[in-house]
Amino acid sequence: MKKYTEDHEWVAIEGDTATVGISSYAQAQLGDVVFVEVPEAGRAVTKGGDAAVVESVKAASEVYAPASGTVSAGNDALADNPALVNEDPEGAGWFFQMTLADPAELDGLMDEAAYKAYLETL
C-alpha cells in the first residue's frame, strides 16, 4: 500500500516496514537533484522530525519522517547517483526504509487518488 504526505513524500507500507521517498511532483519542483543525505541504519526517527536532506542546484530541503520508528536501511545508491531521484523518484530513487513503531501513525496519510486531488489544489 502506497500513501503520500502533504510534504510530498511517498510511503510504501508492508506490515510494520515502510519505504520512504519523495513524490514525482516533489522532484519536478526541486529540479536537478545534486546531493541526498539519507539516514544510516539504526537511527531512531520521530514522526515529523528530520530524516533526510535533498539538495537541488539551488537549495537544500528537509525530508521528514512520516512516522516514528527505526531506520533499517538508507539508499546508498543515491550517494553516487543523486539524479536517481529525478529519474525514478517513486522507485530506484527511494530514500530510506524503516521499521514502524506504530503502523497506525500512517492512517491519516493520503492514498494516491487523494494525493492527486491534493496536488490539484496547489
Binding site: G31, V34, F35, E37, E55, V57, K58, A60
Partner: protein, 373 residues
C-alpha cells in the same frame, strides 16, 4: 510584496509559452528554469544561452552641457572607477559606494560612441530605485537621470554567441570584450555591449521593449541558442567567480575586501574624490581585515550562503554564495574569511547541518573565462 504587485518583462508571455517556471525575483515574475538548470548551464558553456534580464535597470546620464566627460566627472563622486578615462565605445564595471566605503550596488557604465552627451548605466533590479534616488540627489545639477523603461535587456552568452549574432550583423564580431556598439539584429536596430554575467564570451542587447519579442524569437529560432533561466544564470556566475549583489556584496563589504581592487584604477586610488575613499585608502594601505575568496569543497554535499567557515576550531568566515557547479560536477562556494586564512590552498572546514566539510581556499574563476580580449 504580493504576487499581484509583481511586474512582468515584455517577454513573460514567451517564457510561459516555452514552459518556463516563473518565480518572483526583485519585484518581477522571472523564469527560473525552462528544461532544467544543469542542462541550461551546460548548454550555455558549450553553445549559446539567451537570458531575459529586463528586470535590470538601464539609466542614461545625459550631461546638461552636452559632454559625456561632464557626466563622467559627476558620476565619479559616487563610484571609485576611472570613468573620465572611459573611451567612446567602451564600458567599465564599478560600484556605488556609501560614505563608509560599503557597496550600495554594482553596475556597468558604458560610453556609447554614437551619443557625445551621455553615459549609460546598467544597475541591479533590486537596487534601481535607490540608485536613481542617489543620483537624483547628488548628480542632478550636472546631468539628467533618465531611466530607460522603453528598453528591454537580453543577454546572449556562450562560445557560439558571436557566430549567432554575426549572422545577423557582422559588425558584432569586431567588438572587443567590454566594447559598446550598435547592430541590426532580426531587423531591429539596437545597442549592445560585449559582456555578460556567465564568464563566457557574449553580448548584452538593449532592445526597444516593443520589438524585443521579435529579437528573442529570431535568436531562440537558431538551433545553437536556447533560453536560459535565472537558476543557471546563478550557477554560471558562481563558477565564473562573479559577485551577486545582496549576497557577495552589500553595504557591509568594501570593494577591496571583495577582491574588486582591479576595478579601481590607479588615478582614483591616489586622487580619491569618491564616497568612501578614506576607507578604501585604508583597506589598500593596511590590507583589508577580511577578503572574498573561493572554496572547493570535498565530497558532494553543497554548502550554502550563511554557512560558517572554521579553521583551528574557530570561526574565520562565512559563505555568501554556494552551490553545485554543473561544469565541475562538484560543490563550490565563495565567501569572506579573515585575511590570514585567505591564501590559496588554505585548508578550512565549512559547517553544514552541524557537520564539518573539508574545504580549500581556491582561485577564482572556478571555470576559465572565455572572454574575447
Amino acid at each position: 510584496m504580493s504576487e499581484d504587485d509583481l511586474l512582468e518583462t515584455p517577454l513573460a508571455g514567451l517564457h510561459r509559452a516555452a514552459g518556463a517556471r516563473m518565480v518572483p525575483f526583485a519585484g518581477y515574475h522571472m523564469p527560473v528554469q525552462y528544461e532544467g538548470i544543469i542542462a541550461e548551464h551546460l548548454w550555455t558553456r558549450e553553445k549559446a544561452g539567451l537570458f531575459d534580464v529586463s528586470h535590470m535597470g538601464i539609466v542614461d546620464l545625459i550631461a546638461h552641457d552636452g559632454r559625456a566627460e561632464t557626466a563622467a566627472r559627476a558620476l565619479e563622486a559616487l563610484v571609485p572607477a576611472d570613468i573620465a578615462a572611459l573611451k567612446p565605445g567602451r564600458q567599465r564595471y564599478t560600484q556605488f559606494l556609501n560614505e563608509a566605503g560599503g557597496i550600495l550596488d554594482d553596475l556597468m557604465v558604458a560610453r556609447p560612441a554614437e551619443h557625445a552627451d551621455r553615459l549609460t548605466l546598467v544597475v541591479n533590479a533590486a537596487c534601481k530605485r535607490e540608485d536613481i534616488a542617489l543620483m537624483e540627489s547628488r548628480l542632478a545639477d550636472a546631468v539628467d537621470i533618465v531611466p530607460r523603461e522603453d528598453l528591454a535587456l537580453i543577454a546572449l552568452q556562450g562560445p557560439q554567441a558571436e557566430a549567432v549574432l554575426a549572422a545577423h550583423d557582422p559588425v558584432v564580431a569586431a567588438m572587443p570584450f567590454m566594447g559598446v556598439g550598435r547592430a541590426r539584429i532580426a531587423g531591429v536596430e539596437l545597442g549592445l555591449t560585449r559582456s555578460g554575467y556567465t564568464g563566457e564570451d557574449g553580448y548584452e542587447l538593449a532592445v526597444p521593449a516593443d520589438r524585443v519579442a521579435q529579437v528573442w524569437q529570431a535568436l531562440t529560432g537558431d538551433e545553437r541558442v536556447k533560453p536560459i533561466g535565472l537558476g543557471a544564470r546563478d550557477s554560471l556566475r558562481l563558477e565564473a567567480g562573479l559577485c551577486l549583489y545582496g549576497h557577495d556584496l552589500d553595504t557591509t563589504t568594501t570593494p577591496v575586501e571583495a577582491d574588486l581592487l582591479w576595478s579601481i584604477q590607479k588615478r582614483r586610488r591616489t586622487e580619491g574624490g569618491f564616497a568612501g575613499f578614506e576607507r578604501i585608502r585604508s583597506d589598500i594601505e593596511n590590507g583589508p581585515a577580511r577578503r572574498r575568496v573561493g572554496f572547493r569543497i570535498e565530497g558532494r554535499a553543497p554548502a550554502r550562503e550563511g554557512a560558517e567557515v572554521v579553521a583551528g576550531g574557530k570561526t574565520v568566515g562565512i559563505l555568501t554564495s554556494g552551490g553545485f557547479a554543473p561544469s565541475l560536477g562538484a560543490p563550490i562556494a565563495m565567501g569572506y574569511v579573515d585575511s590570514d586564512h585567505a591564501g590559496e590552498g588554505t585548508a578550512v572546514e565549512i559547517m553544514v547541518r552541524g557537520r564539518a566539510l573539508a574545504a580549500t581556499v581556491a582561485p577564482m574563476p572556478f571555470v576559465p573565462h572565455g572572454y574575447k580580449r
